[in-house]
Symmetry: C2
Subunit: 446 residues, 2 copies
């Protein structure tokens, strides 16, 4: 709860000191649970917290990656309770109660499960595996300094498996392990018409309105089948077999409840794909923010000078984030009409990733979850992006197991984010078992 109280908002430079305080708090916890070495590494941005306890070279090493920074909480007026004043409330989805606060699920609550799990293992005797903690403070802003840090500390970060809890299970009755993540390409666009705001009566009808033009350009980014029209967008997209898709679609899913939960009358996506497929194995394009002209109280008859949007695309194997960013930029510039000028500014991106279900890491996670939940977990491909998974593989050669305990309804990135106490405790129950089985299954292999 104390950890949740610190507003570690990495995107907003006004909270720089709070982010630093949070790093120090994490480091304190790592020290208190028995890590033999704890260090806060400064970066060009927010610090990275590292902790380790190496028992023996004979043991396999598990590295836990997480992040202590959080998403901005806005819009503030939609929170029932202040985002940095954690409160436990019972809900229909969480009869045992849930902790409501920004970061409770994404990712402080899930990081803390690992801290508590290691504390328990440590108190019970020798850790089954060597343990390393890598907890960064910039995940929500693209982990911009992490890759450099990893490149410069390969030896320090050597491990047999990386364990990440920053995803969700299908439901509390249906445990799952994430075996696929989408990639991300994020850009900001600016459309400029006249060199100043104009009176829409004096100039309207002859001077192209950059807001109208931006809307037309954005509208053209999808065709009538819900496909993204950026030239070259689908060239490298992996088409999956009918068999694979059938398996995926066996996952418990109620279209009615899905719509009811969101209070929408219907979904809308790429024709020819189910909802489960649309949010996991297909690439997408969304406008995350748009603004231009007068947006204050009342009416103002202005023909604005500029219009802006933040646009992101979720990617699937084998799209490459930097390539897609370039394709979007080229496409957007090409479709701009003569009457405006456009600027396209790329933000951070990340690659899609798929994890093998044949690995020891997966088997250990599967067994641990089965014991804790009383039910075997199913493998799922998620819609979100965790770019560091591909980055860790590329630079360290290490695979990642995405064993998260949240629920989609936890409203991460939204107001009233929360994390179920059931889930939090289940994670603490599961994680020590993972370490135990990972060690057992690796015997003879180290």
């Amino acid at each position: 709860m104390d950890l949740l109280r610190i507003p570690s908002i990495s995107a907003d430079s006004r909270f720089k000191e709070d982010v630093k305080k949070t790093a120090e708090s994490i480091a304190d916890h790592l020290n208190s649970i028995g890590m033999s070495k704890v260090e806060i590494f400064p970066t060009e941005g927010h610090p990275i917290v590292y902790g380790e306890k190496i028992i023996s070279e004979d043991k396999p090493t598990v590295m836990i990656y997480g992040h202590y920074d959080v998403q901005p909480p806005d819009p503030l007026d939609l929170w029932d309770n202040p985002p940095f004043e954690p409160i436990i409330k019972k809900t229909e989805a969480h009869p045992q109660g849930a902790i409501f606060a920004r970061g409770s699920c994404d990712d402080k609550g899930q990081v803390f499960m690992h801290i508590k799990a290691i504390e328990i293992l440590n108190s019970m005797g020798e850790l089954p595996c060597n343990v390393k903690f890598l907890i960064e403070g910039e995940e929500e802003i693209g982990s911009r300094n992490l890759e450099t840090f990893v490149k410069n500390h390969r030896d320090l970060l050597t491990s047999d498996i990386i364990l990440v809890s920053d995803t969700s299970i299908v439901s509390n009755d249906c445990p799952s392990i994430t075996v696929g993540l989408r990639g991300l390409s994020y850009l900001e666009v600016e459309v400029v018409g006249p060199n100043r705001d104009l009176h829409s009566g004096v100039y309207g009808g002859a001077v192209a309105n950059p807001v109208n033009v931006l809307c037309q350009m954005i509208a053209s980014l999808h065709d009538e089948n819900g496909k993204v029209t950026v030239k070259g967008f689908y060239d490298k997209v992996e088409e999956l077999s009918a068999e694979y898709r059938n398996e995926m679609n066996k996952r418990p899913f109620s279209y009615e409840n899905y719509c009811k939960d969101l209070e929408i009358n219907a979904t809308r996506g790429e024709n020819g794909y189910t909802v489960i497929e649309q949010v996991s194995i297909r690439p997408t394009l969304d406008v995350n923010g748009i603004w231009g002209g007068y947006i204050g109280e009342g009416a103002k008859t202005v023909l604005p000078s500029k219009a802006f949007a933040k646009i992101s695309m979720r990617l699937v194997p084998h799209q490459i984030s930097s390539e897609i960013t370039e394709l979007f930029k080229a496409h957007f510039e090409a479709i701009a009409p003569e009457c405006v000028k456009v600027k396209v500014m790329p933000h951070h991106g990340g690659e899609a990733a798929v994890v093998s279900t044949e690995s020891i890491g997966y088997a250990a996670a599967s067994k641990a979850m089965e014991e804790a939940f009383g039910k075997k977990p199913i493998p799922t491909r998620e819609g979100g992006s965790i770019p560091i998974v591909a980055m860790f593989k590329k630079i360290l050669g290490t695979d990642t197991i995405l064993m998260g305990f949240g629920l989609d309804s936890d409203a991460i990135h939204s107001p009233n984010e929360h994390y179920g106490i059931f889930n939090y405790l289940k994670g603490i129950d599961t994680i020590p078992r993972f370490h135990q089985y990972f060690a057992e299954m690796n015997e003879g292999k180290v």
Copy 2:
């Protein structure tokens, strides 16, 4: 200059007291120039200032209408000098200097010309005409309480002509009188998707993004020929003869300079019409403001719950504002896809108006301007809306002469609004002549 210092922003409730102070200042001026009766009438909104000097029933009565409220100044960071600290600067367009301040041209500077003109006439002897001043404080927010006031004070406001200076001349070398104004229909729309902001990875691809949908709906409001697609929009639009259009297009206009002034490579409007026609005799649709999702610093991968826009249409005879508003509402609701809900909220509107060049009022204005400028003014149809013109005709039966002295480049409704000293003094030169000729031309008629 003192008048310009008071921030009489009618749209923003935080400036209510400043608006009131401005009304009092206007009333003081009317008293000091010799009005025999001056009264500040409260309304449900901002007050209306009235002043009169009736010499004799035998004289015709000229009523001067204007407004003392101003547009909001934002965006503030684009002003070279603070909007409510008037400063005189020389520019290329105004070698004699111009007064830079919000309201300098629209409309305080132009109202003040009439105050000074009457002061001069009064000091020279008997006024040629009876004079009434009707200066309101809500023009920028649709004159919402004026119609009620006019209805309740018909006798008080009886006059032979209404004189308004709230428009522009073609250039300082080409005086003109406005004989046509466009109407206005203004609405706010809201598109709602899911009941909360969502994580665009978890839900993107299946849940319709209300920003994307709003863009598609707005894009569909124009066809490939630049025509507005709202069902029924053009039904009552007056098509003008080739002869009339040819006359209109003789007005001095340089496409190259027009584009150069705005720093655009090309204009864009309804196919088949010239720029002059597009901004005067054709109806239009513009988005005045749009917003939705995350628009702050950096990146946030949100699939927003809502998207909003302020949309207005400029109308021409014989479109009726309330009808067009209804047509837009019906159309927008009809084109909304199943995956979202839309709300359409009408704001103030106003009718188009056309003034006859055959009237005594026009003849008096034409002669007065010809004397002051040394060149006969041409009649022009403007793109902006002054809804009270049609309202005065409907309720009082009185015609309006739109004899304004601003320039299109004065940047009204924009940052760095200004008013040329040449124009300001020319107005004070012209207006007394108008009163003189209006009286002469009406002799025997009153």
